[in-house]
Symmetry: C2
């Protein structure tokens, strides 16, 4: 029995139950009474709601990420920690790797520490098979679950997303408008974010009357050298491409190095666009045009939403933030 | 009154007091009795030692770093969290920035959370003025303080260091032996680590009969573009250099970009060596020769030492790990 059961039985939102528990005046007398009746009926004591009532709270949030040394996630953790601390909360960090079993193990561990909420940073936590996400839905009955650039539909689960589809759609469209016709798309994973990015590329080509060829959509580990090798081997196989759009800056930097090695001029003969606008974008010469996926905004919004949940105000379960294309020397538009 | 007072009055090490508290058999009957007598005399109850006794422990370690999005520190946090978790400890992360006041504030905050130890990651926590470090010495009377590549002398403070002096000494020596005479040294900060690195450069030049010119030792923010601009402006001013040795890969990558822009061939006309062997080292073409400062080893050793402190075994208060020079395309040796 938990806050979710109360909300269901009283036919009000979890936010309303939370408002009642917090003594927030912004609830009608009628609703308040119904919620209190249901709590009574279900045999709840305020203790069970200690967390929601701000009693016995550890003032600690669990942050899970697959790998805190990843450039994107390192930034996410930095911004999340900063925002949580500004709100008086500590962050317990948990790097889980990508195996489902380990993710579940660490997730349970964080829950056993009675953290006030869990933030899942990055899109590696939502599995393709619905049953593999049931542990998250179960947990959300007891504490808020915040997803940074991941999406899962369920009560007490809040997502802050970058509009990855629009970002790659826009980038591919600009490449096409600047005269590029053979755009190689490099990606690493089929995460929620990875799927959206790829679909943006596909849709842009289709909408501009270019047929999508699977030869031009290539998977590659998130590794500069591997991406360089892949570009080289595709060229050796005779694949012609005049642009590279990558799902991560590291892959785009691999393409830049390929161009150096083959004396292909950038951007005249090859345009290159990366993703995440990381420090890698300023490493190359010319510097890399890259999509700024707004990790700082995502993290600030995630923490603001969480604070809203804690204070029982209505917050959207899904917020989408637009990316920006940062134009530098690897493109000619 | 604390474990430090007991150790002082009983004239035994803190490790010995800890062994007694942990019921470790590796203490003589005589010593054990003296420690117990002193505890009695000072009016200690086991409660005060709850942490040392493994009772009421939060099994949580505070990790402080100036900026978790810094490439070196992001890796340090990743490895520290992994090693601590493997030992059953949670990590509370705290990003402090570099202002002393904020560092002290967050340090006190972590202490108030009753963490079992605090790890200071990176060499930004030890101040030049002794009085500015007194808060650390005070805190070490109550909990172990672990420094990752920083050094402070005091009871219950343990340092794991990279031999930065030997690393830059070796790198500069190799540059000289390969025929380079005008080596530009780029650095960012006067941290413990920063001072050692610079001294290694100075000593190598002196030992090889090259006089050290302050014109060739330049401070630069840890920023690729700033380093590129600095190299360009030095060249415009007529400073001749045939090698760049940098205290961080980002500065070295700036030098690589400067060489591209001026059509200076690497390594024929300009040799470049970075520091930290970060992901940036594989971004450039040719790839960057860089000093591997062994952040993983430093973190593993730090956590192993801490576990030794907890179990009351004798551990060294200072461990030094050698760096490795990773030779890639920006040098010709």
């Amino acid at each position: 029995m938990n806050i979710y059961d109360v909300s269901k039985k009283a036919e009000v939102s979890i936010a309303t139950v939370s408002r009642v528990l917090n003594g927030n005046p912004n609830v009608s007398e009628k609703t308040r009474n119904r919620v209190l009746e249901v709590m009574d009926e279900l045999g709840y004591t305020p203790n069970i709601f200690a967390r929601g009532l701000g009693l016995n709270t550890m003032k600690t949030i669990g942050i899970m990420c697959s790998d805190s040394s990843d450039l994107y996630l390192a930034n996410a953790i930095y911004f999340l920690e900063r925002e949580l601390r500004n709100n008086g909360y500590d962050s317990i960090l948990c790097c889980t790797g990508t195996a489902l079993e380990t993710k579940q193990k660490y997730f349970d561990l964080l829950r056993s520490k009675r953290v006030d909420a869990i933030i899942l940073a990055g899109s590696k936590f939502i599995e393709m098979k619905a049953k593999d996400n049931s542990y998250l839905l179960d947990a959300a009955k007891e504490l808020p679950l915040m997803l940074v650039n991941g999406y899962l539909d369920g009560p007490n689960i809040y997502s802050t997303l970058c509009d990855d589809h629009a970002a790659t759609y826009d980038a591919a469209s600009r490449l096409i408008k600047s005269g590029r016709e053979k755009i190689l798309y490099l990606y690493t994973s089929y995460s929620y974010s990875g799927i959206n990015k790829m679909q943006g590329y596909r849709d842009a080509l289709t909408d501009h009357g270019i047929s999508v060829s699977e030869d031009y959509i290539r998977q590659c580990p998130k590794d500069i050298s591997k991406a360089q090798e892949l570009c080289s081997s595709l060229r050796e196989q005779g694949l012609i491409f005049d642009a590279v759009l990558a799902s991560d800056d590291s892959l785009a930097i691999g393409a830049v190095k390929f161009a150096y090695a083959y004396h292909i001029s950038i951007p005249e003969q090859l345009s290159i666009i990366g993703y995440n606008n990381s420090i890698l974008a300023s490493c190359s010469y010319p510097e890399l045009t890259s999509i700024d996926s707004k990790v700082e905004s995502l993290c600030i919004t995630t923490v603001n939403t969480l604070m809203g949940v804690f204070s029982g105000i209505n917050v959207p379960s899904r917020t989408t933030i637009s990316a920006d294309l940062i134009k530098r020397g690897t493109t000619n538009f």
